[in-house]
Amino acid sequence: MPTFADINGQRPFGRVADTQPDRVNMRLLVIEDDRDAADYLVKAFREVGHVADAAIDGDDGLAMAIDGQYDVLIVDRMLPKRDGLSLIGALRAKGIETPCLILSALGQVDDRVKGLRAGGDDYLPKPYSFSELLARVEVLARRRVGRSEETVLRVGDLELDRLSHQVRRGNEEISLQPREFRLLEYLMQHAGQVVTRTMLLENVWDYHFDPQTNVIDVHISRLRSKIDKGFSQPLLHTIRGAGYMIRDGAR
């Protein structure tokens, strides 16, 4: 189940851009048959500095995806001429591994599993908030560069050793519960990127439902009190209206 980022008192696009100094511009392709939705997405992506194109049916989308050097494809599941899953299948069959995010009105767990099995890299049920979509697209784009193989993750003076399960900040050893460790690990893997509550729930807890109350916030504030308390430079930031980000504020 999706959570819908609270866009409280923030200019959703502008603010996200402000807080991501190390953003790189991406080339995105939106394949969506609803022109309004496609236009909205293209415009919103451009506003935050990405290059975005749109295709309105499956065949066009496939042709553009094959020709263009896109970083991430945003694919609607139900498309005229060729549905989203078969489009992804055709791309993968050609050996094109561009990350694909599937947008679908079908939000159930089994639909999600089907989408990922068909070669999609992420799945976002409609209706979605743009900040959620943006955060996921950016994570997908960086996945290739990937920090997942590194055994020691570093953000500023915070250091997480994935093998010995040790976390230290400066000279201080920080003891974390196993789940807090997973949470920090995920945040640090995506350092400098916005990570939404839903993404945390999916990747750290492996839950795909909406827990109604925002339990994630409380976990984050616990983690924050362990890694940031007593240090002058906070690393774990709340991105209002979107989620969280860990980054070295000194940069």
Binding site: M1, D6, G9, G107, W205, Y207, F209, V218
Partner: protein, 470 residues
């Protein structure tokens, strides 16, 4: 006539006709066989006696010549009865006997003949009909001929009696069979008509109608009972559907109205950009809430209709209790509630892990909301996973206000919510969803008194849902 036509077209009546035909044919065959056999038996008896007599008489002839034969035959011919005798000369002149009016040439063929004749004592009476007889002509040495026979009247009479009896009994079989068939058919037809009538009213929308059950336990009753169970299920589903739409109407219309009112008000009164922004923000917030409610309703509907059954496999419920407990522990802690998990022994169960996690999460979430409402400082929530016989129990106990006993049953029912819970944050569908998930797994959600507080239990069959039949 149409009623009669309907009667004749029924399966029962057709079956009756078939049975009647088969039975009639069988009876006819039986009686015919009996009649023919009787006749053959009598004929055999006659030939045996006649043969014996001829042997005896020819012995007499051999010993005493024609004179003795004539005396013996004469004596025998005078006895009353059905025995026939005649002795003639070579020329055909009668010497003794009680037979006359034989068709010419009868005596010329030695051996067996069936022939017409008159008795000698009735020969002159023209009103006496000719009789029939089975005779044997025997050539005696010396040119004489001996005829011995038996009258066949008796045989024919018996034969006719049997035939008549046969005809009558077949007629009675047909009449009784038809009457019985009509009777049974009409009885069945009346019951089927009653059922048809009921189904028609049901088709017209009265889902409360039930088929009449005669209480005889026969096949029609069994059919009616099964159809009634089916109707019961359909009615329940329809009722559920109505509740769903009513609730969707309530749950979605209320926030939609609020949304609309706020936008309208903003258009009317907002002056500054900040005011417009605030209105837009509250619009997004409200629509997020709407989507959440919509998702919860959709999910309940899906669980209710049995979707999610494909994705069932074995997992450890104790692990889920720990996971969910761990997910909510900081939240509870923040609100001054102690959240403990007591699930030390593995409790394997077959089910949809995601859905059961969500159901348990909803119960915990629910308890956290209410435990805080009453007594923030001293609140305590315990999550347990236990195996009890063939079931596993996931229980959440809290020290909150609980749910009044009268309302407990209603709360678990699909889509029923307590009025006061509608004003709580969240979609408020948590318990309904938990109950739907439990039912999907063939289990149940039980709410009980924790004295004080609420004890909510998700009871699941360990082997997963058993497909219910009938």
């Amino acid at each position: 006539m149409t009623a009669l036509g309907k009667l004749f077209r029924t399966t029962t009546f057709k079956l009756t006709l078939v049975y009647l035909t088969v039975f009639g044919l069988f009876a006819a065959f039986l009686l015919g066989y009996f009649a023919l056999n009787t006749r053959r038996l009598i004929t055999e008896q006659i030939t045996d006696t006649v043969n014996a007599e001829i042997t005896g008489l020819s012995e007499q002839y051999r010993q005493g010549g024609i004179r003795r034969l004539v005396i013996v035959v004469d004596a025998r011919a005078r006895r009353p009865g059905s025995s026939l005798y005649l002795v003639t000369t070579f020329a055909g002149e009668a010497l003794a006997g009680n037979v006359t009016s034989l068709p010419p040439g009868t005596l010329d063929n030695p051996g067996w003949t069936e022939t017409a004749y008159r008795r000698l004592d009735e020969a002159d009476a023209a009103d006496h009909p000719e009789h029939r007889a089975l005779v044997r002509v025997f050539q005696l040495p010396g040119g004489f001929r001996l005829l011995v026979g038996r009258d066949l009247d008796e045989r024919e009479r018996l034969y006719n009696i049997v035939l008549a009896a046969g005809r009558w009994s077949i007629a009675i079989v047909i009449v009784l069979g038809l009457a019985g068939g009509l009777f049974v058919t009409r009885r069945v037809l009346r019951r089927v008509d009653a059922m048809t009538e009921t189904t028609r009213t049901i088709m017209h929308g009265d889902l409360g109608g039930r088929l009449p059950v005669a209480g005889t336990g026969d096949e029609i009753d069994r059919l009616a009972e099964n159809l009634n169970v089916m109707l019961e299920r359909i009615e329940a589903l329809m009722r559920g559907l109505k509740e769903v739409s009513d609730n969707i109407a309530h749950d979605l219309k209320t926030p939609l109205t609020r949304l609309r009112n706020r936008s309208e008000q903003a258009l009317r009164t907002a002056k500054t950009e900040a005011e417009y922004r605030a209105a837009l923000e509250s619009t997004i917030e409200e629509s997020d809430g709407l989507i959440r409610t919509f998702n919860a309703l959709l999910m309940i509907a899906r669980a209710e209709s049995g979707q999610g059954r494909d994705d069932m496999r074995e997992f450890d419920a104790a692990e889920i209790a720990h996971d969910v407990g761990e997910l909510y522990e900081p939240l509870a802690d923040e609100k001054g509630i102690m959240l403990k998990v007591e699930a030390d022994t593995p409790a394997p169960v077959v089910g949809n892990r995601e859905l059961i996690s969500q159901a348990l999460a909803n119960l915990v979430d629910n308890s956290i909301k209410y435990a805080e409402t009453v007594n923030g400082a001293a609140g305590e929530i315990v999550v347990r996973a236990l195996t009890e016989g063939e079931r596993i129990l996931l229980t959440v106990t809290d020290s909150g206000p609980g749910i009044p006993e009268a309302d407990r049953g209603r709360v678990v029912e699909r889509f029923v919510r307590l009025e006061q819970s509608r004003s709580q944050p969240g979609s408020g569908l948590g318990l309904s969803l938990a109950a739907a998930v439990a039912r999907l797994h063939g289990g149940e959600l039980v709410l009980a008194d924790n004295k004080p507080g609420l004890k909510s239990v998700i009871a699941l069959p360990r082997g997963g849902p058993v497909q219910v039949s009938g």
